[in-house]
């Protein structure tokens, strides 16, 4: 087991390194001269030329490319991704400052998404009323098709402006979290519902389900005692990508509700072409993906005995 975790950690480290390299390639090598892009900034905020010069020398951006990459990689290993062009603080600090807000939002959004998504999938698979079942089955495709920002704006329109139930903007308290989290949750819930109901549908057609029915099992036992657990496995493997999508959703949700967080930070960083911050965010996203995948790997054997023993017995 320890051996296994060690190997997964090593693989995770590889993905992080590769993500860093890909982002370095895209952000620093692709444009030719990254510093001049940063210096162009956006129209409103002129970038301090002194800062640009400092960046250029401190990060060796005037040296040959392989050397640049090595210097940058060593600094990145010390969690130093450079200085934010926008306000002169380190990019890592700029991200760390707003990260807790986004974690709150994403956690709330994820919890909501799992609850909503599972409820829809279970409802669609198990309800005996034909109309109810079709209604449940029709919702996820709809949830996937609507743009996230549009959901946010509609929620804002109804619940903040028309009924004044929740604040429209800001980071204050639980009430301000509800609408952004819901905005974030709806597309993810739709994806979860779709994955899970497809998986449930397939599971309910498996021969072993018929065999359990032939033992005289009730529907409740078949559904909740056997089918649901089997069907959850494929959804579990998608967790890494789902959490990554949550992060992308935060970009939109935080913009719509004017919340501070790494989503907003991303938009402002791209707007002011703040390459160090953008790179930090990309590597952060990859790190979150790696951590989630590791977590899934650890949970997996608890849910599916085939994984655990297959590894021990080794075919």
């Amino acid at each position: 087991m320890i051996r296994f975790i060690g190997r997964r950690l090593l693989q995770g480290a590889f993905v992080l390194w590769a993500a860093y390299t890909v982002s370095f390639f895209i952000l620093y090598l692709l444009p030719g001269d990254a510093v001049s892009i940063m210096a162009s900034g956006d129209e409103q905020n002129a970038v301090d030329p002194a800062l640009v010069a400092r960046l250029r020398s401190e990060y060796g951006l005037d040296r040959p490319l392989p050397e640049q990459y090595l210097i940058a990689l060593v600094k990145a290993l010390q969690l130093d991704f450079g200085i934010s062009i926008k306000n002169g603080v380190s990019a890592t600090a700029a991200v760390a400052e707003v990260l807790p807000e986004t974690i709150k939002l994403a956690a709330a959004g994820f919890a909501l998404a799992v609850i909503l998504g599972s409820a829809l999938a279970i409802g669609a698979a198990f309800s005996r009323n034909r109309w109810l079942r079709q209604a449940f089955a029709a919702l996820p495709p709809l949830g996937i098709a609507v743009p996230t920002f549009w959901i946010g704006l509609l929620l804002l329109q109804f619940f903040s402006f028309r009924f004044r139930l929740f604040p429209a903007i800001g980071n204050d308290g639980v009430a301000s979290l509800v609408l952004p989290a819901l905005t974030l949750a709806i597309p993810t819930a739709a994806v979860i519902a779709q994955l899970l109901s497809r998986s449930l549908h397939r599971t309910l057609g498996e021969p072993y389900i018929e065999q359990i029915r032939a033992k005289g099992a009730s529907d409740a036992l078949i559904h909740f005692g056997h089918a649901l657990r089997n069907a959850a496995i494929p959804t579990l493997t998608m967790l890494g990508i789902l959490v990554g999508n949550l992060l992308a959703g935060a970009v939109v949700s935080e913009t719509v509700f004017s919340r501070a967080g790494i989503g907003r930070l991303t938009v402002t960083a791209v707007n002011s072409r703040d390459i160090p911050v953008v790179q930090t965010l990309v590597v952060l996203a990859a790190a979150i993906f790696v951590l989630t995948s590791l977590l899934v790997d650890l949970i997996y054997p608890l849910v599916d005995p085939r994984i655990n023993t297959a590894r021990r017995v080794s075919v």
Binding site: V15, A18, A19, I26, P147, I241, N245, A248, V251, A285
Partner: protein, 338 residues
């Protein structure tokens, strides 16, 4: 992310299911060449053929056409999806035929009018007709989406085909890079690309396309592997067929279905991504009327003019819903084959 529509319809039977026992072409056992029984015309033949082969089309074309239209009649959702996409494509090609109002010049006295017979989607703060702006925006939105899907399809399929047919270290190298691309959420990857490419519709289209390369590569590789190890390819190989002939005549045509289904799906996803990016302000500058920026423009009038945000959003959702439905239709016949 590869999402597909799931419509578990109780009337559908899986092929190979014992349920269809007795309905397929069943060999009867009598007569001189007994198992040569006329195959039932109702066999769920998919009617797809490799291009460039005309032999035998004539014989079976008519009943197939009839069968296809019968099947369509049973799938009103698919017909509706086709209609929605048809109308939107026409908007993009001949916008003038759908709206007489100019998209960029408004009548200031008519500002912020709610939807009416004259202005179907209402008017904006400058008195411009919103419906006309949506119709004229279709060309930009669809062109950007097409570019995005094109980039992903061409680059991704080539990489996937290389990985899947050469295998070995080429496969390892390509797929490791694709794994890394999948580890970064696609919107974030697009944003990173926009940072260096700069703003504008073409740039966001390219950025969205690059972010979808990994999905195409994965599907294409899986298909190349699946078909490459299929028994009929093994049979062709042992019959002395050259590898490039196998690639061209067996692998590519058989891989096309799932890749096409993914293309339709990614088309919908690209519409969403591009509208999101232009909503965030990275698209073409005003007064250009891309759908996402139309929604963004309505943000300031949420209370006064609900239609400015709501109606362009409905159009986006309808298009995505329609392409997803289409993708489902592409994917389904594939599942019917083994």
């Amino acid at each position: 992310m590869p999402q597909q529509l799931v419509r578990p319809s109780p009337a559908q039977t899986r092929p190979g299911d014992p349920a269809v026992e007795g309905t397929g072409p069943v060999p009867t056992a009598s007569g001189p060449a007994p198992d040569v029984s006329p195959a039932s015309p109702g066999t769920p033949g998919t009617g797809r053929r490799a291009p460039g082969r005309a032999a035998g089309v004539g014989r079976a074309a008519l009943p197939r056409l009839a069968a296809a239209s019968r099947r369509l009649g049973r799938a009103p959702g698919l017909v509706l999806a086709g209609l929605v996409l048809g109308v939107v494509v026409l908007w993009a090609v001949v916008p003038g035929a759908f709206s007489s109002w100019p998209p960029d010049t408004g009548v200031p006295t008519d500002r912020l009018q709610p939807p009416s017979a004259a202005h179907w989607f209402g008017t904006d703060s400058l008195g411009r007709d919103l419906y006309s702006r949506v119709v004229h925006g279709a060309a930009t939105s669809l062109a950007a989406t097409a570019v995005a899907v094109g980039v992903g399809l061409v680059a991704g399929s080539l990489l996937g085909l290389l990985a899947g047919s050469l295998r070995g270290w080429v496969d390892d190298a390509i797929m490791r890079v694709m794994d890394v691309l999948l580890a970064i959420p696609s919107l974030l990857l697009s944003l990173a690309l926009i940072t260096v490419l700069g703003f504008g519709t073409v740039n966001i289209a390219i950025a969205v396309g690059v972010a979808s390369v990994a999905n195409f590569a994965r599907i294409m590789r899986a298909e190349a592997l699946r078909v490459g190890t299929a028994v009929y390819v093994e049979a062709a190989r042992s019959a002395g067929v050259r590898w490039h002939t196998i690639l061209l005549r067996h692998v590519l045509p058989n891989a096309a279905g799932p890749v096409l289904a993914l293309s339709a799906l990614e088309f919908g996803m690209a519409v969403l991504s591009i509208s999101s990016l232009s909503f965030l302000g990275f698209g073409a500058p005003p007064p250009s009327a891309e759908w996402g920026s139309l929604v963004a423009g309505g943000r300031d009038y949420l209370v006064a003019a609900w239609w400015l945000v709501t109606l362009p959003g409905v159009v986006i959702a309808a298009v995505v819903l329609a392409t997803n439905r289409l993708s489902h239709a592409f994917a389904n016949p594939e599942r019917n084959r083994t």
